[in-house]
């Protein structure tokens, strides 16, 4: 446990019953959760090594209720941790002892779908997959597809600017969002963007996306929906050397091909996922690529033929094109369950740095050395087209000191990502997990400019205040 929470404000803790009474006057009784048992369900998120019971949990069912709660918290100087489904892997939704959790999970309706203009208006607590399901009958979908899409909410996706395996073609959340309704800390409801492209004035929508619940609480969103391709099929390419897989990725892109997904798995990841999903992954290779293309059958055949030909000079040990929907589903099941499958064989922490793809062989070699130096194993799965790595550093919680070692190894890996020209986080967010590493990527001036912008929205550090910015670097804006 090396990440510190700020010391809770005793004055707020001592006013707990008063605060609960005040909140009780603002929302329906069932929307306010106070008992320790029920608060337990909210004490952590996807970063389960850290947990903290909040003062209370509020689950409003309207924008007005959210506004009333925020205004109350501002007036009484109570901290607020916004929450969607609590699947954040960086601890973005982990509470603080002197904060309330403000969850949007009950606000989960589709408000309007406009197929002609290809937009959907939703309440922010709807799940990512829920949006796609609501438009699937017309052959449409919402493009960014985090592996957690069954559970995670669009609110969380917006706050984290989440990505997915198919964002090489379709972009991440920020590229697919048109408008939001957001409640500011003082209860003001602002409409930002709308059902049209780009905005007049400053790009506030772009600023809010990825702001990790520090600027306001998003209650509704308008997203772009897209007509799904006629079909999609992946190919598996297995290589004896990591360098060959990296060079193959570069060659595919140099040939002018942007596959809809281009995923990489190393030997440990292949073994773990194959044992879980029985996807037909090659077990005798060092590196494997999943390359997926879309279109009609004939277009897919043509494209996969080109890709296999491009791979040829790199002497793949396996070059297998999926022949059926079932085969494709199995291939994706293996990849998408990489975290879960790893969780069955070990405890792990999942890193999320991005690197320039040309640095791939060097970085993978160093990651291996780093893990070994701590006596730990590591499995690598990542989005090869854009260099977003997910090294899973494996350890055993029951062995004293191992978790600390894993955290230290993770830290070394992220520093390495920054060193080679990349960044700390490609899609999971900074949260508490990478908060104290921010000074490796940004200097004081960079961070101060960000904090001044943060201060425009929350000058008193009440909104998700333990996250993103190193505690000791802070100043009142």
């Amino acid at each position: 446990m090396s990440i510190a929470f700020p010391t809770p404000d005793e004055a707020v803790l001592s006013r707990r019953s008063e605060i609960l009474a005040g909140l009780g006057r603002l929302v329906a009784p069932e929307a306010l959760i106070v008992s320790e048992d029920e608060r337990r369900a909210f004490e952590t998120d996807g970063l389960t090594a850290y947990r903290q019971l909040p003062l209370a949990v509020v689950l409003p069912s309207s924008t007005e209720e959210v506004a009333a709660v925020l205004r109350f918290c501002r007036d009484h100087r109570v901290k607020v941790v916004p929450r969607g489904a609590g699947t954040s892997l960086s601890g973005g939704a982990i509470p603080q002892a002197d904060a309330i959790v403000l969850g949007v999970a009950k606000m989960n309706r589709v408000l309007d779908v406009d197929f002609k203009n290809r937009t959907a208006r939703v309440q922010s607590g709807i799940t990512n997959l829920g949006i796609s399901q609501a438009v699937a009958h017309e052959g449409f979908f919402y493009a960014p597809d985090p592996s957690s899409q069954l559970a995670c909410t669009i609110a969380g996706n917006i706050a984290m600017n989440s990505g997915g395996a198919h964002c090489l073609k379709y972009g991440v959340t920020t590229n697919n969002l048109l408008g939001v309704t957001m409640v500011l800390l003082d209860g003001t409801v602002v409409e930002i963007g709308g059902d049209y492209l780009d905005s007049g004035g400053y790009d506030l929508l772009g600023l809010i996306t990825g702001s990790e619940g520090q600027l306001g609480v998003v209650t509704e969103a308008t997203v772009r929906i897209l007509r799904a391709a006629e079909g999609a099929r992946p190919a598996l390419l297995g290589f004896e050397r990591v360098e060959d897989a990296g060079a193959c990725v570069a060659a595919i892109i140099a040939a002018g091909i942007i596959p809809v997904a281009l995923e990489y798995m190393d030997r440990p990841a292949i073994q773990i996922c194959e044992a879980f999903a029985h996807a037909g992954y090659p077990l005798d290779v060092e590196a494997m690529l999943i390359v997926e293309v879309e279109g009609s059958d004939a277009e897919i055949d043509d494209m996969l033929r080109r890709i296999v030909a491009i791979a040829e000079p790199f002497r793949p040990k396996t070059a297998k094109v999926s022949q059926s929907e079932a085969e494709s589903a199995a291939i994706w099941k293996g990849r998408k369950s990489a975290f879960g499958a790893t969780g069955r064989v070990a405890d792990y922490i999942c890193m999320d740095g991005t690197i320039p793809t040309g640095q791939l062989p060097h970085v993978l070699k160093r990651i291996d050395e780093i893990a070994k130096s701590y006596g730990l194993g590591v499995a690598n799965v990542f989005h090869a087209g854009d260099g977003n790595l997910h090294p899973l550093v494996m350890f055993d919680t029951n062995k004293p000191g191992e978790m600390e070692k894993a955290e230290a190894a993770g830290e070394d890996i992220l520093k390495l990502c920054v060193e080679v020209g990349g960044c700390l986080t490609g899609e999971h967010g900074v949260g508490i997990e990478k908060r104290d590493l921010m000074t490796y990527q940004f200097n004081r001036v960079d961070l101060e400019q960000q904090m001044r912008v943060r201060g425009v929205f929350d000058p008193g550090w009440l909104l998700n205040p333990a996250k993103v910015f190193p505690l000791e670097e802070r100043f009142a804006a």
Partner: protein
Amino acid sequence: MNTFIPRDEQDVATIVSDAAAKGTLLNLAGSGSKAAMGRPNQTDASVTSAALSGITLYEPAEMVIAARSGTPLSEVVTTLAEKGQQLSFEPMDYRPLLGTTGEPTIGAVAAMNISGPRRIMVGAARDSLIGVRFVNGRGEMVKSGGRVMKNVTGLDLVKLMAGSWGTLGFLTEVTFKVLPRPERTSTLLIRGLDDGVAIEALAAALGSPFDVTGAAHLPAPDRLGARTLIRLEGFSVSVDYRLNELRRLLKRFGPADILEGRGADAVWQSVRDATVLPERGERAIWRVSTAPTNGPILTARIAAAIDAQWFYDWGGGLVWIASPLDGDLGASVIREATRALGGHATLVSAPDSERSRVDVFEPQTEAVMALTRSIKASFDPVGILNPGRMYAGI
């Protein structure tokens, strides 16, 4: 007026911190080809990016290019073309519309978030912009984003800088992600549709699985001359297949011709640069973004009140309007229609004297304006960077 020509970022920082100390108002410029855009403002000195030139990083295999802000856009475009790549968002060239000369810079493309027809498929300049370096109004050198295309580390100041028209900082270096140029480009042309039907046709095309990268409608006074354009790009086999499928899908709108080659490129260039509009020298030019099916409703309302000419890009969602150079240039009618239907309107081109009388950018709600003012102050507390270029007091 004094003009500063900084040689590097440190120079910019020195100039800006001096100006901040003295309260000198600075006009930030690239080559000046778009000086006649935005609100006319009063400044004491100019700072140009003319000496901040050169591509600083280009990795074709990583699909990323970085350049100092004063680098000519044409140099970036040519360098990318040599490796079969391009700025996918298809930045518009404003010179024909504004009647200006000068070499547009890559910094201005970022600062003004300049995109073109392909915006509907691949996003705007802001979606491709992955990193910036800039000097804020305190004279501090700041970076945000970087050179990798997936990056959620910290607040996304890159997006704030894109489209802030130099009111938040002087960009010194910008990094874009790029895409391959398509092997083949082909356009379906349907003639003689009226606006409403044309937008229906474009909606059908954009709602198909066939990856349309351009969707425009160019009305004509005699309707028969009206042209509806749908662009497909990609590998040749795939383009052939999708052309056929789309033709079948759009059969009810009438026969479709196929345009390719230089003629077709020229048409898309005239859509991109809005040179489709006749009489552009003698009219005010507006650019309105709205939901695509609102496009024809918007133009009908405007045409009922003023003598307007127009065409549509982005499937109907981008409406270019030429209004008479008298009265309020059509501002009240255009703004009223835009507000009612949802969207934003920008006065792109009109003489200086007119642009100081009429709001150039879409007026914001009071809540958004309050945020805008505070954000401006958080970058530029004294208010010396392009003051008033977007909004009074910003």
